[in-house]
C-alpha cells in the first residue's frame, strides 16, 4: 500500500463523522477548522568530524503547512460524535535539524480524535468509545499528570484509542478509560486510567491511577487547583511511580496573577526525580495586551540537575508577539538556549530559533 493510500485511509476514518454531520439537521456549532503556515530559522551546533572536532554552527530552515478540521455533532437521544483530523506538509517532520529528511516536502495525515459518545443518564452517566486525547494536567510549563502523551512530545495532539465511562455526582466526578493493546494505534500494552475529581469550595482536587496490563506497578497522581479573589489562581500536582526498577516522583506548584489590565504573571516550579537524577525547574511567564488585538509574552525557563551548584543553571528564554483578528492570526516568536555544558539546555544542539506563524480560522 502506498504512502498516499495510507494517508487517505487515515483521513477517511476522521472524515466520516464530518460527512455524517452534514446530513443531520442540527445546527453545526462544532464545525471548525484552521489552516496555518509556519516558517522557522534555527541555529544548531553540530560535530561534523571525529571526536575532538570542534562543533560548528549550522543554520537550517523549517517550513510547515497544516490544516486541522474538527467537528462535534449531537446525533439525538443523547448520542454525539466528534472527530479531529490533521493534514500537513513539512520540510522537517522529525523536528530535528540534525536529521534532514530525504524529501524536501513530507506530507502526513493523522486522525487526532474520533469519538462516539452516549449520555446514558443526562448529567449523571456518559459512555463513549473511540480515539481521544487524555490531558489530566492543569500545569503550563511541566505536566506531571500527563502520562499518556505521545512519545516525549508534551504538545502531542493525537489521542488514544479506548472506551470511557464517566459518572457525575453533586460535587464529584469519576471516570475510567480503558485502552486495549492495538498495533495500529501504537499501543504496545493495554492500560486503564482511573480519575476521581472532587470540588471543595473554590478548590478542585483530582486523583489518578494508571495501570498497564504488564506486571508493572500502578502510577498514582494527585492534583489540585484553586482561586483566590479576582486576581490569583493556584495549582499543584504530584505523580509517583512505585516501580522499583524505575522509581520516579514528579511534582509541580504554580500560580497565575492577573492584574486589573489583564496582564498575567505566571510562576511554576517543579522537581522531577527520575531515580537516577533529579531535575529542578523554574518557569516564569509575563503576558499581556499591547493593543486590543496585539498580545505579547516573554518567558524564562531555568533548569538545574540534582547535585549541581546553583550557578550551574541552564535553560531557555523566549518571547512572542501575536496579532489576532476574527478569522486569522499571526505570531512571531524567538527562543534561545543558555547555560554551561552539563545542563540540558547547555548540552542541547539548539542555540536559537526564530519563527513566524500565520493561521486562518473558519
Amino acid at each position: 500500500m502506498s504512502r498516499w493510500q495510507n494517508y487517505c485511509g487515515e483521513l477517511w476514518w476522521g472524515l466520516w463523522p464530518l460527512l455524517l454531520a452534514h446530513l443531520l439537521p442540527n445546527p453545526l456549532w462544532g464545525l471548525e477548522g484552521e489552516l496555518g503556515g509556519k516558517v522557522e530559522r534555527t541555529l544548531v551546533q553540530v560535530v561534523a568530524g571525529p571526536p575532538g572536532t570542534l562543533p560548528q554552527e549550522l543554520g537550517t530552515d523549517h517550513a510547515r503547512a497544516e490544516a486541522v478540521a474538527s467537528h462535534r455533532q449531537a446525533l439525538g437521544a443523547g448520542w454525539s460524535a466528534e472527530a479531529t483530523v490533521l493534514a500537513a506538509l513539512d520540510t522537517l517532520p522529525s523536528g530535528d535539524t540534525r536529521n534532514l529528511p530525504p524529501r524536501k516536502l513530507e506530507p502526513s495525515a493523522r486522525v487526532l480524535e474520533g469519538w462516539l459518545g452516549w449520555e446514558a443518564l443526562p448529567g449523571l452517566l456518559t459512555l463513549g468509545a473511540g480515539k481521544r486525547i487524555l490531558q489530566p494536567s492543569s500545569a503550563f510549563s511541566h505536566k506531571p499528570l500527563d502520562w499518556l502523551s505521545r512519545s516525549d512530545d508534551p504538545d502531542s495532539r493525537e489521542g488514544r484509542t479506548g472506551a470511557q465511562a464517566a459518572l457525575f455526582g453533586d460535587a464529584w466526578s469519576a471516570s475510567v478509560f480503558a485502552a486495549p493493546a492495538l498495533a495500529f494505534d501504537g499501543t504496545a500494552q493495554a492500560f486503564g486510567l482511573g480519575r476521581l475529581g472532587v470540588h471543595l469550595g473554590s478548590v478542585d482536587v483530582k486523583a489518578l491511577v494508571l495501570q498497564y496490563t504488564d506486571d508493572s506497578r500502578p502510577r498514582g497522581g494527585l492534583g489540585l487547583d484553586g482561586g483566590w479573589g479576582d486576581h490569583l489562581t493556584l495549582r499543584a500536582e504530584a505523580a509517583a511511580d512505585a516501580d522499583p526498577a524505575k522509581p520516579r516522583v514528579d511534582t509541580l506548584a504554580g500560580l497565575t496573577w492577573t492584574t486589573d489590565d489583564q496582564t498575567t504573571l505566571m510562576f511554576e516550579g517543579s522537581w522531577d526525580d527520575r531515580g537516577q537524577s533529579g531535575v529542578t525547574t523554574g518557569f516564569a511567564r509575563l503576558a499581556g495586551n499591547l493593543e486590543d488585538r496585539l498580545t505579547a509574552e516573554a518567558w524564562l525557563k531555568a533548569e538545574s540537575k540534582a547535585g549541581s551548584a546553583l550557578s550551574n543553571l541552564g535553560g531557555w528564554v523566549g518571547s512572542g508577539l501575536t496579532w489576532s483578528a476574527p478569522t486569522w492570526s499571526m505570531e512571531g516568536t524567538w527562543l534561545a538556549a543558555w547555560g554551561p555544558p552539563g545542563t540540558t539546555a547547555g548540552d542541547s544542539a539548539l542555540r536559537w530559533k526564530v519563527g513566524l506563524e500565520v493561521k486562518t480560522f473558519w
Partner: protein, 257 residues
C-alpha cells in the same frame, strides 16, 4: 492565545432580566434582594450577540449560546462560542467567581481568575456577574427621576469577602413602578466611574419581563461601548450535572430553540 473578549458580558445579560412588580419597599436590603430575585430566569437558555463599538464604528462582533441555572446558592452559566471563527468551539463554565475554559481540541478545562475573562483593558467582570445582593451591601437608598421615570437609587458597596473585586462601589437605578433595572454605574476604589450599564428592550418571557438589550460603556473612554442583544430566550433546562468542570469536555451544545 487571547482570552475571549465577550465572556464578561454573558452574565450581564442575566442582570438585565427583570420582573414586573409594583410595591416599593423602603428597606434597601430587602428591596435589593427583591430586585435580584426577579432578575434571573431559572433554567434559561439564550442566543446572544455582542457588538463592540468605538464611536459609531463596529470593532468586534461575537455570538454565543448560553444556558443559565440560578438557585439560592448562586448562578451558573454554560457558554458555547459560535462566532468569530477564532474563538468558535470554546466552552466555558461560570460557577460563581470560578471560571473554567475549555479550548477546542483540548481535554482539560483550565481555571481562570475572573479578571482573565474580562473585556479589553478594563474590568467588565463584575458588571457581567453583578449579582447585587450576593456581592454587595446596600448602604443607601435614595429617590430620583431618570428619563422621566421615578427610580430608586441604590448605593452599593462590595461585601467583605468581595473586597478583591474590581468594582468596590455601584450606583444602581431601578424603576420604582416595575423594579426593572434601568442603569448602573460601577466604580473602583476611587471616585472614577469605570463602567456604565443601561438596560432596555424589555420583552416578556414566560411570566417575566426580560431586558433583551444591555449597553455597557467604558467610563474612561466614552467612545467605547459594547451592546449585548438577545436573539432567543427560552426555558430549556440542562441537568445540574451539566454545570460541572469535568462535564465540559463531553458536552455537545445544541442551539437554543
Amino acid at each position: 492565545m487571547p482570552f475571549p473578549k465577550i465572556i464578561p458580558f454573558v452574565l450581564a445579560a442575566t442582570v438585565s432580566l427583570a420582573a414586573v412588580t409594583a410595591e416599593p419597599i423602603p428597606d434597601p436590603t430587602e428591596l435589593l434582594t427583591k430586585v435580584d430575585q426577579r432578575r434571573f430566569v431559572p433554567d434559561m437558555d439564550f442566543t446572544l450577540t455582542l457588538t463592540a463599538y468605538k464611536d459609531s464604528q463596529v470593532v468586534e462582533e461575537s455570538a454565543l449560546w448560553g444556558w443559565v441555572k440560578a438557585d439560592p446558592q448562586g448562578t451558573k452559566a454554560l457558554l458555547a462560542f459560535v462566532e468569530p471563527a477564532s474563538t468558535k468551539g470554546r466552552k466555558m463554565l461560570m460557577d460563581g467567581p470560578t471560571v473554567y475554559l475549555l479550548f477546542p481540541k483540548t481535554r482539560n478545562p483550565i481555571r481562570l481568575s475572573p479578571l482573565q475573562v474580562l473585556v479589553g483593558q478594563s474590568s467588565n467582570g463584575d458588571v457581567a456577574r453583578a449579582s447585587f445582593s450576593q456581592d454587595y451591601d446596600a448602604q443607601g437608598l435614595t429617590s430620583e427621576e431618570r428619563e422621566g421615570k421615578p427610580c430608586w437609587v441604590f448605593a452599593l458597596a462590595a461585601k467583605a469577602d468581595r473586597q478583591g473585586s474590581a468594582y468596590r462601589k455601584v450606583s444602581l437605578w431601578v424603576e420604582k413602578e416595575t423594579l426593572r433595572p434601568v442603569a448602573a454605574d460601577f466604580f473602583g476604589t476611587g471616585e472614577q466611574k469605570l463602567k456604565h450599564a443601561t438596560y432596555g428592550d424589555f420583552r416578556t418571557v414566560g411570566d417575566k419581563t426580560v431586558a433583551f438589550r444591555l449597553d455597557i460603556g467604558d467610563g474612561a473612554d466614552p467612545a467605547k461601548h459594547t451592546v449585548l442583544q438577545y436573539g432567543k430566550v427560552g426555558r430549556q433546562a440542562l441537568p445540574n450535572g451539566a454545570f460541572r468542570r469535568d462535564y465540559l469536555e463531553g458536552w455537545t451544545p445544541e442551539m437554543p430553540q
